[in-house]
Symmetry: C2
Subunit: 457 residues, 2 copies
């Protein structure tokens, strides 16, 4: 009953589909962020659900941790093998199994990435809406309940996963949900697995909602004299019920980083990035309603991107935000914070955070999905400087306290992984214990992504 | 450790707040439908969360079932005390605790009904969108994952509950969710309790999403030469992405029942009932787009209700549908079926059901939330006639088989209760067992609404 015994059995099962090569272990032991590397003892590359089930059974029998892996773009150390074991890399499960244009649904394997699905859908007039920036695997996006720029209009993964196939900790294969748009047939297991970060089961297939591509799309950027003015515009927009497809905040430092990283030339002031979806008439109507609101807060000129290639360039720039931020300070690690608050408390949440950042010994550009009340400060920390690390921790703790005080959450979309474990008790109280009870019931051996999300004694 | 011992302790705790009066037991032992009465041994009327927690602790200690009760309007026997015990009636927990107009949220106690909340919101410009027809309690609506006519636009209770306070089987009080619009902080316990029908915990408070009242609303009815033509119109409408706030099917027999029950005078043909929400311009645009689609399927003249009182009369008529149906055959019990299928399979699902009903020994009018692929046939059965009861069971079984064969669910919105228990294994396979494991973990004594949703050995 050792990890080594599991690996020996897996080698027989998978042949080439199991690697213990140093390079593979290293790649799967890294994260996008500041956490210490934590490599698995082996990496499995299954090609089918049945293989995943066999892998899990072997690991269960040998008490080996099993860590699911999509593209490794998560931001809280979700896929680090903190207790060793076997990482299950879904990159060989990349089939778009079926697309039902008439039902606005599709069925995919977990290794398909967001952009791969987009390419597959190009001729159908349909789109998959959830867009976290990174070209993440859809299985990982479901596991971490990803959201991003379009959630304000189309919802998060919670809203866009209709059903799942999941391999449980004992190797059982179950299916949750149906292809119908709604159901009240018992516990919502789909919603339970979405956001469970691989700790309750391994997602081996997803049924996703699709949306018709809007007839008309208009994107725009506009500057504001202050972050407060931009945020107040967002609050007024959401409260007026103006349907926005995207509404993103950039502070002046973010704009500076974009100009430098993407070669753009925007005035280095706070901006909102916007997108409207609908019919030609409704897009024009809503853009005008927004402009009327923004004028009250002294918005600058609107830079409108109507051509698809211009829009793509705009959003690529936004998607590269984390990389643009980290490029501001070569050698520094980016710590992306992620609080989300009720929209009425957004202005004070951002203002208090700016005050903290003004005193910090490192730069901390802010951007975010402000239509949801969600924003990120990227703390650009020299991780070899203990003073900076301590200051970053302090800012993180103050952000968490702020989010909870204002009625929000310590993580709007990045998830818990182990990076946010420290705040779970405070956010959930006894409900965190209930999560632990569910974990124990469904994974009594604690083999599935152990050390993440819940604490199991 | 008996129910009697629990009642003695509860009497001390609650005084007048506990009833064993025959009339109270009888009322709480009935359901809206054909199930045999099943009265509790006592009814508790708590006035606070703390009282609910004490009630559950006493019942847990004495191994007494605990059955939550909102308004008793559920349709699958959810609130029948099939194993006796104590029914917890939330009618004395009716506070709208706070409304946050600026965040589009409110916090309510579970006994507040849908219409009571509507009255409370009247001056705010906001609305709560979920509308199952009956004036149900919001706690019950969450527990059964209710939806109804507006789900096609605003979603079901799954989409409109942001957070809950729940009393667990051991009396612990937990809070799930936050007031932020999204979160990825661990397992989605809110979604787990929504639709758990009181089997995992008792909901003692809800944080709900509100929506701005649309600037413009237009309702309309239009006839079709056949149910197939009406359904094909719905499919084309949904696939074209025309934003409908409601889109409801009535077959000819339903229209006849409405004319008779509500004193209206519609042609006794299949109809669609529609509602559009938006700005004046977008409502007009979408109504025109819909009319263009409907014309292809030979729709009749549009009867437009623009005045609020006319719209209210229209939807009251629809809301009374179940009662109008049952009035078609005095003395008969109405069995409301509830399948939901992918929209592309709706036409065949309805057509096959009509074939079955044509051969049935009783009338079976059809109506439904067809924009979601969800429809109801009300089987008007003489429950004293064994032949009719057998035919009704056969039709129900064929509907279930049909729903699953077409990729849908046996219950779109009514829930499982014990009326749909027979189909759970077929719909969920091994996932039903996983639901049972969660139930055992969170309610090891099986005291919370036992005999519903899951099977616990």
């Amino acid at each position: 009953m050792t990890i080594a015994a599991a690996i020996a059995e897996l080698k027989t099962l998978l042949g080439d589909g199991l690697s213990t090569a140093k390079a593979d272990l290293e790649i799967h032991g890294k994260s996008e962020v500041h956490f210490a590397d934590a490599a698995p003892d082996a990496v499995a590359f299954p090609t089918s659900t049945e293989q995943v089930a066999e892998i899990v059974k072997i690991c269960a029998r040998n008490e080996s941790p099993v860590v699911p892996w999509g593209t490794g773009t998560s931001l809280e150390g979700h896929s680090l093998a903190v207790r060793g074991g076997v990482t299950v890399d879904f990159s060989r499960m990349k089939k778009v199994i079926e697309v039902h244009p008439e039902d606005l649904t599709c069925r995919v394997q977990p290794g398909v990435t967001r952009r791969e699905l987009e390419a597959e859908l190009r001729t159908t007039g349909l789109m998959f809406s959830v867009d976290p920036g990174a070209d993440a695997a859809l299985g990982g996006m479901a596991a971490t309940r990803a959201s991003g720029t379009t959630a304000v209009r189309y919802g998060t993964m919670r809203d866009n996963v209709l059903g799942l196939e999941v391999v449980m900790a004992d190797g059982r294969i179950i299916r949750t949900g149906t292809r119908a748009r709604k159901s009240s047939a018992g516990y919502d297991l789909t919603a339970l697995f979405v956001g469970s970060e691989g700790t309750l089961g391994l997602i081996t297939e997803l049924t996703l909602k699709l949306h018709g591509r809007p007839e008309a799309v208009m994107a725009a950027m506009t500057s504001f004299p202050s972050v407060a003015a931009a945020v107040d515009t967002v609050i007024a927009t959401i409260q007026a019920g103006i349907p926005m497809a995207r509404i993103e905040l950039l502070d002046a430092l973010s704009v500076q980083s974009f100009n430098s990283y993407a070669g753009t030339n925007y005035p280095e002031q706070p901006h909102l990035m916007l997108e409207f979806h609908g019919s030609e008439a409704s897009v024009a109507e809503n853009a005008q309603r927004f402009a009327d609101v923004a004028a009250d807060f002294r918005a600058g000129e609107f830079q409108i991107a109507s051509r698809e290639e211009d829009r793509r360039a705009l959003w690529r720039m936004r998607h590269d935000g984390f990389y643009a931020h980290t490029a501001l300070r070569p050698g520094a690690k980016g710590l992306a914070t992620d609080i989300c608050v009720p929209i009425s408390r957004l202005a004070e949440a951002v203002a208090e955070t700016q005050d903290d950042l003004a005193k910090a010994p490192f730069p901390g550009p802010i951007l975010g999905h402000v239509g949801d009340g969600n924003f990120h400060a990227t703390l650009l920390v020299d991780v070899d400087n203990p003073e900076e690390v301590a200051a970053a921790k302090e800012i993180g703790a103050r952000l968490a306290e702020r989010a909870l005080r204002l009625g929000g959450t310590v993580t709007g979309e990045h998830g818990v992984g182990f990076g946010k474990m420290a705040y779970m008790a405070e956010e959930h109280g006894d409900a965190w214990g209930v999560m632990g009870e569910i974990k124990k019931a469904l994974d009594p051996g604690n083999i599935l992504n152990p050390g993440k999300v819940v604490r199991v004694n």
